[in-house]
Structures are given as C-alpha cells and as structure tokens.
C-alpha cells in the first residue's frame, strides 16, 4: 500500500514537471526573441537556477545534518572553474563547432558532471579532517577553506586570463568555453531547468531515503544514532561530499551565465548575493530542513537583490533612504531579522511541498487555524 503511494507520487511529479517544462519551451520558442523576455526574464531564471541548487545543497549539511559550513561558495567556485576550463579545452581541441553542434550538448553535460565530481573530491580533503570537529570549529575551518580556495585559484596560472596554457596567474578568466550570450541563454534555458530539476530531485530522494534518515538521526542525537548501528563519521563525510557535488553543479551553471569568471565573485568579501554567508541566510530564511524552503528563499533573495540593483523605485526614493541600498547586506540582514521574528523556524520550517499531499496539507492547516481561532474566542469569552 505504502509503496504504491510513493510510486504514484513520483508519477504525478514527473507528469506535472514534463507538462510545465513543455509549456515553458513553447513559450520560449514563441517569445524568445522579444526584448524583455530575452534580456531580463531568461537571465533571471538562469540565476535563480544556480541559486536554488546552491541553497538546497547547503541545506543538506546545515539543515539536515546540523553542521554549520561557511565555505559553500568555495565549492561553487571549484565547480565554475572546472566547467569553464573543461569546456574551453574541448573548444580548443575542436570537439564541437559552435553552440548549435549536438556535440556541444555532450560537452555541456560532461562539464556539469565534472564540476560536481571535482567539488565532491576536494570536499573530501576538507571534510575528512574537518568533520571530526563540531559546531563553531567546523564553521571556522570551512570559512578558512572558502578563503584558501579563492587564493589557490588566483595563483593557478591556467585559471587566469586566456585560460589553460595561455593564462597567467592572478587575473580573471576571460575565456570560458560556456559563457552564454543572451541568445544562447534562451536557446539553452531547457538545460538550466533540466539540471536544476534533476539536482533537486536527487537531493530530495536522498533526504527521503534511509541515508537521509540516518543523517537526521545524527543531527538529533549522535549517541543514539551510533547505538542504532550508524557509522556517524562516514555519513557526515559522505553527506558533505554529496552537498559539495551539487554546489559544484551550481558553479557549472554559473559558468554558463558569465562570460568572465573572477574569484572575487565567490569571495567572502563579496557584497553581492554569491557569498557563503548569504547562502546560509537563504537556508535559514527558507527553513533549515526544508528543501522547498531553500528553493523559495533562493528566489526571494534573488528578487530582493534584483530590485535593489535595478528597481526603478529605488532611484525615486529620497537620497537619505535610498542610501541604505548601497549596502545590500544591510537589507538582507533586516529581511532575515523580520522573518526570524515572525517565523523562528524559517518560512517553511521543515515542511516539504508535495503535489500529492497538497490538498490534505491545506485542509489540515485550515483546520488548525480554525481551532486556534475558536480557542482564542473561547478565551476571550471567558475573560
């Protein structure tokens, strides 16, 4: 009985995703050449895609395993550089001709997978010693890792200037085998969506599996988890690597959207949205332990960031007020504080969106709301 319910859930999700996907493809082919669609909406979707994957991947470590990692953008940087350089190598080896060549699609997919694998392998280097530490110490070591990786990339000659053998250390990577222009972004939007959906699905399945349960058990009580027969050290390292894999995938998507890669965009001092602490903010905002929450929070943070930078209303504000928008970090902080005041567990808490349970969930929420109201009324009546 239970199994068929799970199978039905997968079937329902697959059907709905395929329908939405096709609808979006039709829309894209119809409107793909129009100005605002091509120049605003599509690039925004690309950005949202990698932010969602990034936030969800951090949630595995932070929300489900309960370990604070502050170096997540380091893994994203590794992924971005791996994908950019691998595709550049393929381009120089003339494996494909132009971006409409079918061989390019193959290169695209292998770059994404290579980016994930590279990030996962390097995460083991940090994870194996670091995960023996707990709490603040793990946060410090991962924070350090994020900074170190930026410095390493800055000093690798093949990561600078024209890339590979032609490069020189210390500069941004101006050659990127991916680096889509606005036309290519429209052409390959299906790729961004597909990678995002597959990544989210894989993370979701991981959480629902026996292994997902095991890491939640480690978060709640390490002694009892060990007494249940779980090898806690192994699971921590494994989850860390799994999470880094998807951060690497997010990095590869990032490399697709930017013609030039610069380490400063992943650095801790970066005031933009790609900063390890802001990924933490996204996860906390959406709810630690809810992948749905991370996805929604990534979009919210993106919209806030977008409005601050491009919103017309900002310039209409008096100078004294619009000054705050020079410092986007202040705005994120205020948003986070407000959310934590009203919803201490984040927007979604541990709730996961599911098409199958949507109607029962809404019904239950309404019922709880009604009983709370009734209790309030009763209390007022008694008073």
């Amino acid at each position: 009985m239970k199994k068929s319910k799970v199978a039905r859930g997968y079937f329902l999700n697959t059907v709905v995703i395929i329908l939405l996907f096709t609808a979006f493809q039709i829309l894209t082919s119809a409107k793909g050449s129009q100005g605002s669609f091509k120049l605003v909406l599509i690039p925004s979707i690309w950005q949202c895609c990698y932010l969602m994957v990034l936030a969800a991947s951090l949630n595995l470590v932070l929300g489900f395993m309960g370990q604070l990692s502050l170096g997540h953008c380091g893994f994203m940087a590794i992924g971005a550089y791996t994908a950019a350089l691998l595709s550049l190598a393929c381009e120089r080896a003339e494996l494909f001709e132009g971006k409409s060549d079918p061989a390019f699609i193959l290169v695209l997919f292998s770059s994404v997978i290579a980016a994930g694998l590279m990030a996962a392998v390097l995460s083991l280097l940090v994870g194996i010693p670091a995960l023996r530490l707990k709490g603040d110490y793990l946060a410090i070591i991962t924070l350090g890792f994020g900074m170190i990786i930026i410095n390493i990339i800055n000093n690798l000659p093949f990561c600078g200037q024209d890339g590979l053998a032609l490069g020189s250390a210390g500069a941004s990577l101006y050659k990127n085998g991916l680096g889509f222009g606005s036309k290519a972004k429209v052409q390959f939007i299906w790729f961004a969506l597909l990678v995002t959906i597959i990544s989210l699905a894989l993370m979701f399945m991981f959480i629902r599996s026996k292994y997902g349960r095991a890491i939640k058990a480690i978060r709640d009580d390490e002694i009892a988890a060990s007494a249940s027969g779980i090898n806690t050290a192994k699971f921590k390292v494994m989850t860390f690597a799994y999470s880094a894999f998807f951060a690497g995938v997010a990095g590869a998507l990032y490399a697709c959207t930017n013609a030039t890669l610069s380490t400063s965009s992943f650095a801790f001092t970066n005031g933009g949205i790609l900063n390890s602490t802001f990924v933490v903010v996204m996860v906390v905002l959406g709810g630690m332990g809810s992948l749905t929450g991370s996805v929604i929070a990534a979009v919210i943070m993106f919209l806030i960031n977008y409005e601050i930078k491009n919103g017309q209303w900002v310039s209409a504000l008096p100078a004294s007020l619009s000054g705050i928008f020079e410092y986007p970090m202040l705005v994120y902080a205020v948003v986070l504080i407000v959310v934590i005041m009203f919803r201490p567990k984040g927007i979604f808490g541990t709730y996961e969106f599911s098409l199958q349970n949507l109607i029962p969930d809404i019904r239950r929420a309404l019922e709880m709301h009604r009983t709370a109201d009734a209790e309030k009324k009763e209390a007022n009546g008694n008073a």
Binding site: K210, R213, A217, D220, D221, A224, A227, S228, G229
Partner: protein, 234 residues
Amino acid sequence: MLEVKDLNLYYGAIHALKGISLTVKDGELVSLIGSNGAGKTSTLHAISGLLPISSGSLTLDGRDLRKVHPNKIINLGLAHVPEGRHVFARMTVEENLLMGAYIIRDSKKIMKNLEKVYSYFPRLRERYKQLAGTLSGGEQQMLATGRALMTDPSILLMDEPSMGLSPLLVKEIFSIIQTLHDSGITILLVEQNAKMALAVSDRAYVLETGKISMSGPASELANDDRVRKAYLGA
C-alpha cells in the same frame, strides 16, 4: 545467554566496577538494583561497549563482546535502551522506529518488526507522524524501547525506564516490560525503583559501590530484611 565475569572498570583513578559477575539466561528478566552511583549504568555501558573495561570477560551466546566495535554490537542481537531516552527529537515517531531497524536490509522484515512494535505500543501507531520531541516522557520511553525492539534483539538492556515519569506512567512502563518478558524477550533491567523492578523480575542483583552485594530470585530479595530496609523503604 549473557555472561559477565569479573568485570573491572576505572574512571581515571576511580575503581568504579570491582569484579562484577552476572548472568542472564535466555528468556529471563533480570534486574540490577542499587542506589545512585552504585555502578548500574556503568555496567550496562560496559556490556554494550560504550565504556572500555580494564579486565573481565563479556560473552553473549559464547561470543566475546570485547572484540566487537560498539556500532556492530547491535548486529549480535544486543539492543540498548539508553538512560534519559535519547529519541531523535526532530524526526517523526515512525522515522525514529525505522532508524532502529537501520542495520536490517530486508524491507519486509522491517515492516514486520514495525507492525510488532506498534502492537506492543498502540499509542505510537496513533502518533506515527508526530515529531518525537513533542511526545510526553512516557511516550518517549515507549519510543526508545520500540526503537530498540526494531532489530528483533535476543537481549534488551534497559537503563532506568521509569526515570522522570509520573507514578501512573511508571506502572504503565512496567506493565509493558512484563508484556515484553512474557513474549519471550530476554531483558536486563537497571532500576532505581527497586519495588517495581523486583515485582516483575525473575532474578535480581543488588549493586553497592561497584560490587554485587546480594543476588537471588526476585521474590526472595523482596522479602529480605536488608533489601527492604535499604531499597524498599520498609
């Protein structure tokens, strides 16, 4: 059969367990009673490998427990319900129980054991979707016990199941222990509540400052003058 012989355990310089020997035969319910700091919990922790012992032998059905890693001991059929319950607070009741069956790969067997645990503890079935941290103390104790039963253990070590529970719940927990015993599970029970423990047990050991001072059938100990004065408050 669980056999403990000449168990010695030190906390630094402190000699906590001084040559403890005890046996639990298959199907028996044996309790270990004694006051605070007598070494009851230490004995259980030593048996399940959570504390290193300095000398002595520990065997379960003839196999040496000292050579087994703590997270593998559960594979030998020894399950430990730790003191203070230790449930996974932010996971649901059912997830907690499934965690107990972590080492079992056969999903049919897991479902069968889950069904069995729910039949022992109908209250857990009612609340299978609730977060474990929001259960009452008694329900958490049921959950911790149920989780240990998920592996179908041949022997169950229970550490202070009545701790921090109301008298009514203590009664309920003990009636559950009695049911488990009646269904053939071997239990080694550690309790401060000597009266209740002696009432359900077959045999008992009295532990005093790291040594076993008395042992025998539970009914005899319950009528023993020294035990009555020291532990039963009569």
